[in-house]
Each structure stands twice: as structure tokens, then as C-alpha cells.
């Protein structure tokens, strides 16, 4: 079965490929192609089930109508949901999304950028990993359309979409204190990234404003060795006096792991100890106890990021706009 190209349609109809191209792209305005021929071409294209070859088109036009999405791990619900929305919205705009996973490893991030570049993606949406600053700088210099999402590098100015990490974290901590907790602790990843740091700062400031001076109730766990570190961290927290009576978990994976650790120790969550989580999850909904959590506007994040990116791609906008969306505290 012969592949149906413009040439085939042109041959069958005895016209040139130029004419066919013009018609199929709706560029037959003001007396370029006669009605008669137009219709014939449209009909034939439909009959033969013509689909344009996007490789050829992309080559000629200088853009691929595809974008790269680089995230930590597509099997994580947060990123999966983000990817879903970006894809849906991108498809509406005629763009293809190619996803790459970094697993929070800068080497993987570099590999993915190179790979996606060779695929001629028109732009990139990235949740950057620690240690990836130089890659982002390089992309900026090449004027590659780029939007960072979920996190940014503090000393590099790029277009980005984030949530109000500090504020929501402040409010969440506040909420714990208001509910009568006296010694809320905080657990996050051992990494130096803005979103994490801001959440930490939100916790700290809320504590200070409430007259607490804390340094030892902040624990950090590693991404690679989550559950073990978590068990250790929680063990330490429970040893403290005065007693830690609440824990604020700074990400979704940490929340799950943390609660698991607490349950393993036989503690009654929301009774022996209060918790505050990040992101909603199936797991949290399952508990007989209500768990307050920070709900990120994931769909909006994806949508805005894509809008920013497409603006850069199609309208050469060089705004470097930094969008901050409001997360919601669900209690």
C-alpha cells in the first residue's frame, strides 16, 4: 500500500503539489485556486485518507510542533497528573508532548535535554533537579523557549509556574498551632531547592511568630532512601521532650511515607499525633481519620506553563513571566 503524499493526490488529479498544498492548508484565499479544483482536492484527500507527514512539514517549517516535558518521575501521581493536563491541553493546540524522567538526577536531566533537542522540540517544560543550573543557563543563551514548573533556581531568571510555597506552608503550620498543637515538627527532602526551602521557611516563620524557637524539629530525608530515613527521623522526633505532637510533611511522597512510619509504630494518627500533608492522594482519603492537606492546583499549573511556553514559541514573547498560583488548605 503506497503511502499517501501530496504527490499522490497531485498525480491522481493532474495538478501540481503546490496547488494541493495550498488548498489543504487553507491558503487558497483571494483567487489562488478555483473553487472547482479546491473541492476536487479536498475530496480526493479525504478519499485517500491523506495525513500530512509531520517530519517533512517540520523540516521545512523549522518547527516540530512538539514540546519536551522533563519531570522527576512519571509514576508519581503529582507528575502523572501534571503530565495528563499538559498533554490534553497541548493536543488541543496541535502540539505533541514528549516526556522524560530524571529521577532527580542531574545527569539524567542532561541526557534528556540533549535527547529532546535532537528531536527538535520547539520548547521545554522542566521541573529542574538540584545541580542543573548550568543546563538551564545554556538553554537560555540559546534562546530555547523554556518554562520551569514546580521549582526554580533562585539566581536564574526564567519563565516559571510555582505555587505560593511560603505562604501556604505558613498557613498550614498556623493551622496546626491553632488546633492546639504545641510542638509541630517538619519533615522535608534533604535538598537545596527553592520550593522545599520556602516551605521550610514558612514553617519556621509561623513557629517564630507563635513564640517558638525551633532548630531541632526539622528533619530531612533522602529521596533515594526514603522509608528508612523516615523511620529514623520519626523515631528521633518521638524521643524529644517536650513531646512532638504534630508533623507537617512537605511533599506527597513524604506524607505517605511518614504516615506509614507512624502507623508502623502503632501510633494513632490525629489522636496521639496530628499530621499535615502535601497533595491529596487516594491513600489519605482512605483513612478513617481526616487529614488536612495542601491541595496544589495541578491542572492550572500545567495549563499556565503551557500557555507561557506557547507564547514564547509562537509569539516570541520574552517575558520571563513568573507565575505564582495559590494552593489551597483543605481541612
Amino acid at each position: 500500500m503506497e503511502r499517501v503524499s501530496l504527490k499522490v493526490i497531485a498525480r491522481e488529479l493532474g495538478v501540481s503539489t503546490a496547488t494541493v498544498s495550498l488548498v489543504l492548508n487553507g491558503k487558497n484565499q483571494n483567487g489562488r485556486v478555483s473553487m472547482d479544483v479546491s473541492e476536487k482536492i479536498l475530496a480526493k484527500a479525504a478519499e485517500l485518507n491523506y495525513v500530512p507527514n509531520s517530519l517533512a512539514k517540520g523540516l521545512k517549517m523549522g518547527h516540530s510542533k512538539s514540546i519536551g516535558l522533563i519531570i522527576a518521575d512519571i509514576s508519581n501521581v503529582f507528575f502523572g497528573t501534571l503530565a495528563l493536563h499538559i498533554q490534553n491541553y497541548a493536543e488541543q493546540q496541535g502540539y505533541t508532548v514528549i516526556i522524560g524522567n530524571t529521577n532527580e538526577d542531574p545527569e539524567e536531566m542532561l541526557k534528556m535535554i540533549t535527547f529532546l533537542n535532537s528531536r527538535q522540540v520547539d520548547g521545554l517544560i522542566i521541573t529542574p533537579t538540584e545541580g542543573g543550573e548550568f543546563m538551564v543557563k545554556a538553554l537560555l543563551e540559546k534562546e530555547k523557549p523554556l518554562v520551569l514548573v514546580d521549582r526554580i533556581y533562585p539566581d536564574i531568571h526564567t519563565a516559571s509556574v510555582m505555587i505560593n510555597n511560603f505562604e501556604i506552608s505558613y498557613r498550614s503550620t498556623r493551622q496546626l498551632l491553632n488546633r492546639g498543637c504545641n510542638n509541630p515538627a517538619f519533615i522535608s527532602y534533604k535538598q537545596d531547592q527553592v520550593h522545599t526551602n520556602e516551605r521550610k521557611r514558612g514553617y519556621l516563620e509561623a513557629m517564630q511568630d507563635a513564640g517558638h524557637h525551633v532548630t531541632d524539629k526539622i528533619k530531612e530525608v533522602s529521596y533515594q532512601n526514603l522509608q528508612e530515613d523516615m523511620d529514623g527521623a520519626i523515631e528521633e522526633l518521638l524521643q524529644m521532650s517536650p513531646k512532638v505532637d504534630a508533623i507537617f510533611f512537605a511533599t506527597n511522597s513524604i506524607s505517605i511515607s511518614g504516615i506509614r512510619s507512624l502507623l508502623k509504630k502503632g501510633l494513632l494518627v490525629q489522636k496521639d499525633i496530628q499530621v499535615m500533608c502535601f497533595d491529596e492522594s487516594e491513600a489519605i482519603l482512605l483513612f478513617p481519620f481526616r487529614v488536612p492537606y495542601v491541595k496544589q492546583p495541578i491542572e492550572a499549573m500545567g495549563k499556565r506553563a503551557l500557555e507561557l511556553l506557547i507564547g514564547q514559541i509562537e509569539r516570541k514573547e520574552k517575558s520571563g513571566q513568573q507565575i505564582v498560583l495559590e494552593a489551597e488548605l483543605v481541612v
Copy 2:
């Protein structure tokens, strides 16, 4: 900044693009290009940071080195994990994966196939939705490399990767019976697909072999209206006499939803009622009670599917091999 193409390298070095292409593709065997020139080209390519334009290459070679992965919903952990593994493995082989979501809707499936075809994907891995038979037939006629995964259409012969649904379901039901349950029920999606049907058949046969005659203890819920249907289904099951003392949930999303429903009703899982789930999940690990579940070999599924597909693409294998992998019962 000028895009670096073969032409640029050739110009700078005063050689032809043909020579550059030959060297960069390692086709300079048996006296095609001199060592001297080879090295110069390699050096220059590195210096200029040359990355081949895959659109041009794909156009010329007649393949894009990309494949399409069509799944129901990337934000579902099962599919997310599947996608992760397929991507990792594909990247190793130099392939790009483009993911499309159907949301179990055949119209979306058709849209995605058309879309991916226009992107010139070299092949497709699909978890087909109900009502998509004609599309798969059309792909087969066009001899498009294709592998179905997770489910198949019973009356269309295609390459596929599935798990042993019937057997694992039989064994799981058996397990419930052995543990002393007398009236295990079964809940699955309201859909006519092989994998679901086979799981149902496994349950039924195990029940019959144990001397039970069941027709009314099988409930079906809709994909679109999961939680409500679930609440209803479980309500009905609990009304029955003799009392339903166990429930086998046929997929991961159903398991979560089902347990949620049970907990809402204030039942003590594994005490008032036993459950058996499909797929592992964070949620299940969190419970103070142990929940037995069917563990699918997701990584292997992805890997085998990709192997099959690449075999068809690169070696024109027309095997139509149907791979069945063993799921594991974790208790």
C-alpha cells in the same frame, strides 16, 4: 546563533556533506574516509556541538525512531509505571515515546491513533478500549507495527502482552475460600473486555469448584461514576444473606474505591470483611491490616511489549506473538 547542520561542518572543513555524514554515522569502514579527515570531522562536530536533526533523518530514512503509547490515563499509577518503564527502555534503544490518553473512550482512541500516525510513529503500543476493534483491524491491514498490552480483543489476532488473568483470579479466589471465607463477592468494571472477563471467569470457576453457585455476588461499577456505583454495589452486597464475608476487587482503582466505601460504612476490614485487591498501591501499604493483592509484573510487561514492537519495526517480524506473564499473589 546558526543552527549547526552537516552543511556547516562540511563548509568549515572544506569537505562535502556526504563525507561528514559517512563519518558521523560510523560508515567510514574499509577505506571510505581517511583517518585524517575522519578525526577532523569528529573534532569539529564535537566543537560545534552538532546534534543531528531527527526530522530530516526520519524523513530520509522513512522512520521516526519514535513510538506511540496509548493508555487510558497517565495519572493512574498502573499506567504511569508502565509508561515509565517503557520510556526508560525505549530511550536505551534510541526511541522516543509519545503518550496518548484515551480515558477509556473509543473516540479519544481514534483521535490519538490519527494524531500519532501523522507524527510518523514507527509503531504503537496500545491498551485498547472497548469498541476500538475496527481501528486495530485497520492498523493491522496497513501492517503498522502494533502490540496490545494489558488487554486484547478476543477475535483479532495481534501481538500482545497480558498477564494470566484467569489463573491468578482463580488462585486469589481460592485463597479467600481457603482462609475460611464462605461468601466472597467480586466487583469489576462494567465493561466487556477480555482481561475483566477472564478475571470474572477465574472467580466463578473457583467458586464452582468449591461448590458454590453464584450469580448475584458479582457486581459491576462504571468507570465514569466509580465511587457512587461502588457505594451502591457494596450496600447491596452487605444486605445479602447468607452474609458476604469477603470481596475480590478486580482492578487497582476499584480496590481503592471499594476499601474506601467499606471504611465509610464503618466496617473493619480483614475483621468484619476480608478483601483481595489488584495491584499494589501506596494506600494498601498504609493500612494497619495486611491486604493480600495480585502483583502484576509491570516492568516486564513494558519491556516485553517494547521488545515485540521493536522486533516488528526493525526485523519485520510478523510473529503476532501473544505473551502471557505470570502475576504474583502476595499475601
